[in-house]
Symmetry: C2
Subunit: 306 residues, 2 copies
């Protein structure tokens, strides 16, 4: 249908596009909300898509909330959403360890309480959550007691990240059989007003550097996030659309999985960013060019109300 890529989505094209998809997958921050505020019109878009018979899912690289926490937050904002429609990296990492890695033992976790809870929901015990300050001397650090049941290190967002946690992760990972999983590689967590704080990608790079190994990353643009939804709901990739505000995670995930892709301009990336990828001639960068873009997902409203 798309003669060329990176086309502004408007008019009848919106209805034509929606007719070709059964499922719409949304990134959250910068797409349906910003911080604690819904993007104006976003709840109505989601609710009308569902009324129109579309399946709707939410895929976020943020690992600091459980599915239930997301569903509760969204309900407060007026979204008609259930927690089984929400796929955050806390939940998806737990599912990855359980169903792909078949992990039957414990995890050393650099991460949030939410990630701990999602792991426990699938029956995986963990150690590591909360503060872990330095003590002792270098020789003590190299000989920290290790839990022999730990067979995986998982790194997600952790505001208690510390040298001691980095060291414990390194000591576990010196066993080549220890799995190494990261929730996502986002270098920054964007906040309102153009501010940002360090993202999980920083913590993961630190651990990768001393472990001298690369983590398997669960989050976008890695295809596991889509595979996780698709396997649970029987989705057909050619009938799905990914909607996101970031070219390097959301749009690239869509391209990696053969989905239709829609960039919304309420978040991080711009049309100029997308055009630069398109014109680069670099084959790797073509996956970051969306099929379509809109100023806001509220642009879909007139065609959903009709």
């Amino acid at each position: 249908m798309a003669a060329s890529k990176c086309t502004r989505l408007s008019g009848a094209l919106i209805r034509d596009l929606l007719d070709t998809v059964d499922s719409v997958l949304f990134d959250c921050d910068g797409v349906i909300w910003r911080g604690d505020q819904a993007v104006p019109g976003a709840p109505e878009v989601i609710n009308l898509l569902k009324n129109n018979g579309k399946k709707v899912f939410f895929l976020t690289n943020n690992s600091t909330k459980t599915r239930k926490m997301y569903a509760d937050k969204m309900a407060l904002m007026g979204f008609n959403v259930t927690q089984d429609e929400v796929f955050g990296t806390a939940y998806c990492s737990a599912m990855y360890l359980k169903t792909v890695c078949k992990l039957g033992s414990k995890v050393y976790l650099i991460g949030s309480n939410a990630l701990k809870q999602e792991l426990e929901m699938v029956g995986i015990q963990q150690a590591g959550v909360g503060p872990d300050h330095i003590s002792g001397a270098q020789s003590d650090w190299a000989n920290v007691p290790l839990d022999p049941e730990v067979k995986a290190v998982v790194v997600g967002f952790d505001e208690h990240f510390s040298y001691m946690k980095l060291n414990r992760a390194m000591q576990y990972l010196s066993n080549p059989d220890c799995l190494f999983v990261g929730t996502n590689t986002d270098s920054r967590l964007p906040l309102e007003g153009g501010k940002a704080v360090p993202g999980t990608g920083c913590l993961l790079r630190a651990v990768e550097t001393c472990a001298q190994r690369q983590a398997h990353t669960v989050g976008k643009p890695n295809r596991y996030m889509f595979d996780c939804v698709a396997s649970q709901f029987g989705l057909e990739s050619s009938r799905c659309m990914m909607v996101g505000d970031r070219l390097d995670t959301d749009i690239l995930l869509g391209s990696n999985c053969g989905l239709k892709t829609l960039l919304t301009l309420t978040g991080v990336s711009t049309v100029a960013d997308a055009k630069a990828h398109e014109k680069s001639g670099s084959p790797e960068r073509q996956g970051m060019v969306p099929d379509y873009y809109v100023d806001s997902i509220a642009d879909l409203l007139p065609f959903l109300r009709g």
Copy 2:
């Protein structure tokens, strides 16, 4: 003199080589000591080199000791050394900021007390040393109070490294005029018995990832360490030899600066590592091939005693 590279240094070749150099620059850990033990014979080698009229210097990427702390440690081990012969990255980073960057303002420091002291010795004030635990919420982190006098972020080894320190560094570095200096990029700090703990390189990668900028690194293999010694003592590079146990820092520094290079096998790298670089055909890896190697610097003893 060296017909081919990576030659075992023995017999008369030792005296011939020593005749061509006025100054010998030694790495410390894995070369003249391991942990708290001198490499057997190393103190005598150093002391005899000096008795034979050679200048001797010590170049270490470790940023956790002042020059005085090193000189005191070495005196206890029997080395005849003064602190002005010791060039650690704590001292060299302070000199770099003072003499190359002409920094007239404050530093936000991720680093040790020793680094703080070396900065203060050259008149540079700092903030940041010691624990800095997380408090508040994300919006507080993005709005941490910044000291307007801070014009540089310096990252060295810091066992109190934390998410909050990472965040403060990122907020300072969001000002493009803020300098960004790392002491070294070593990913691990090797300890006795094959053990190791995370090195400064991990902390630096974490900061670089969220700052979306690369630090200027002072330590080996960057040539500033040699330039710092050479400018103070009027060294001529063609009359200097670098002795080290690591190909990627010590030997590469020597190659980068046009020094003769000697690998000693009492530390990290092996002859097989060096031969692999040599045979790779990769031009970048040739700098990591030493001119000569010895099992230990004690191999020089017979020719120094004579």
